[in-house]
């Protein structure tokens, strides 16, 4: 474990530690007084009705999948951007090909009307 990775480890430990600390304090010390009226679902002020989980139209699923797809694409940029200098021209071409492939997918989705709601 060479010394360069130490800062990242410290960062991870601090971040998760703080998160756990904050949530933990709230979880353990926070008073819990659930009443039926408080835990009733919020229906903008009206009485809740019907089952909580209902059938969702497929269009929501489509939008979600498209988002995840292009989000992962962005995640691949990060390691590339870090070593961008060392990779030089080869890295650039590699990434452009990667982007073009996904761009084709994007244009297809756009033309097929996946982004419009209807």
């Amino acid at each position: 474990m060479d010394i360069e990775l130490l800062p990242i480890i410290v960062l991870i430990v601090l971040a998760t530690g703080l998160a756990i600390l904050v949530v933990g304090i709230g979880h353990f010390f926070g008073p819990r007084r659930p009443t039926a009226r408080k835990s009733a679902p919020y229906e903008s002020g009206m009485r809740p009705f019907g089952p909580g989980t209902r059938r969702m139209p497929i269009a929501f699923y489509l939008v979600a999948v498209l988002f995840i797809l292009f989000d992962i694409e962005v995640v691949f940029f990060l390691p590339w951007a870090v070593v961008f200098r060392q990779l030089g021209l080869f890295g650039l071409i590699e990434m452009v090909i990667f982007i073009v492939i996904l761009l084709a997918g994007y244009i297809y989705a756009w033309k097929a009307g996946a982004l419009e709601w209807e």
Binding site: A40, P48, F49, G50
Partner: protein
């Protein structure tokens, strides 16, 4: 009391079960409450939405969550005390409410109003129109995610509220107009404050226009949304900017001028597209026209009394009380029992920022109004929301509520 989750049919529908389609009841389409507590319903309006995913199938408005029983309460108060309630109806157009109530009394009692009072009434009503349009623009843009416009609009609105507070002592609920004129004359700093506002405001409107008018994000959301044809507008008795945005140039200030509007030269902005963008353009242009009226009214403001000297209806000035016995008698009568206008029924209407605001006043000769009905524009403008919203997305419904510019105090009375 235990509140368990009730099945769909009885619980939330409060007697509206027969209006909801069969698909909704068994859960194929989503029944959702855009209910009384919602950031974009501009008050306590409840819309029962039937949604197929994001698309709105039917909208069932349920109003009455701010019903204040003003008409019943005014029947038990004398004319002057009842005027205090008129401010609370359409709380964005308080001066307009006062004006229409006072005009109704003056028409009923055939009271004369000195020209200076008429001029000041016009100035304040137009300033109130600008203030109301500013709140409309601020909240409408806020609903469409243009946060900064809200803060700019309220900055100008504060200037107008300061002018109103300077004259009437209250920022919003002024009760400044009284039957037969005004409560009292404007203070000396009034003219400079209004001139200052006239000087800076056109630049501010250009600021809003620069932010929104050619902003593609805004245009994408408002163009072609909620088209209201001319026939539909007339059939559903839509009045005000919504009617003028559909091509009918009907404005009560021109059609039936009151308080001396015929002296001022201003034009009525109209559009023909009838969609949300047309209504936006009409209201923005109306702000400029109102400013023109304020300027002309200020230049033509005559000197003289602000209250008619008809002692049967208007209390005498305090200076007279020490001198003449009749003044004391009139003063005592007016402030204890109020005045008794002749029996009869009148309808008087003014052009409020939302449309035709009218008062149907029935008097039986007693000191209290026998029956007073407020014809409010938002009541009709809200009635066509289900027709406008059919087939649009839920996000467009938010823009539609903004463009109808409804005020729930107006709708529920």
């Amino acid at each position: 009391m235990e509140e368990m989750i009730l099945p769909t049919s009885e619980a939330m529908l409060d007697g509206m079960t027969h209006l909801v389609s069969e698909r909704a009841l068994e859960g194929e389409t989503l029944l959702l409450n855009m209910g009384p507590q919602h950031p974009s319903t501009h008050g306590v309006l409840r819309l029962l939405l039937e949604l197929d995913g994001e698309k709105v199938i039917t909208v069932i408005p349920d109003i009455g969550y701010l019903h204040t029983g003003v008409e019943k309460n005014m029947e038990s108060k004398t004319y002057l005390k009842a005027e205090v309630m008129t401010d609370r109806l359409d709380y964005l157009n308080t001066m307009g409410n006062n004006l229409v109530y006072v005009l109704a009394i003056e028409k009923l009692a055939e009271l004369d109003v000195p020209p200076r009072a008429d001029g000041i009434r016009v100035i304040f009503t137009e300033l109130q129109r600008i203030a109301s349009h500013l709140v409309w623009l601020g909240t409408h843009a806020l609903d469409l995610a243009a946060m900064s416009v809200f803060l700019y609009c309220f900055r100008e609105r504060e200037i107008i509220l300061d002018i109103m507070e300077m004259c009437s002592g209250q920022r919003m609920m002024t009760t400044y107009f009284r039957p037969g004129g005004l409560w009292r004359d404007v203070p000396s700093g009034f003219e400079d404050a209004v001139r200052e506002f006239i000087k800076i405001f056109p630049a501010r409107i250009d600021e809003y226009e620069a932010l929104l008018t050619r902003n593609p994000l805004f245009l994408e959301r408002v163009q072609g949304l909620g088209v209201l044809t001319k026939e539909n507008a007339l059939r559903w008795a839509i009045t005000g900017p919504m009617l003028r945005a559909s091509g009918v140039g009907f404005d009560l200030r021109k059609a039936k001028p009151y308080s001396g509007y015929e002296q001022y030269d201003f034009d009525i902005p109209t559009q023909t597209a009838g969609d949300t963008y047309a209504r936006y353009q009409v209201r923005m242009e109306e702000m400029r026209q109102s400013l023109r009226i304020v300027e002309q009214a200020l230049n033509k403001l005559p000197y003289g009394p602000v209250r008619s000297n008809n002692r049967k209806y208007v209390p005498p000035p305090r200076s007279e009380l020490g001198v003449s016995m009749e003044a004391v008698i009139h003063h005592f009568k007016l402030w204890t029992e109020g005045f008794n206008p002749p029996a009869g029924a009148v309808y008087s209407a003014v052009e409020s920022p939302r449309g035709e605001l009218g008062v149907y006043l029935v008097s039986d000769g007693g000191p209290k109004p026998y029956r007073i009905h407020w014809r409010v524009p938002s009541f009709d403008n809200l009635q066509i929301l289900p027709m406008l919203a059919k087939g649009h997305l839920v996000a467009d419904l938010v823009a539609l509520i903004g463009t109808t510019d409804i005020v729930l105090g107006d709708v529920d009375r």
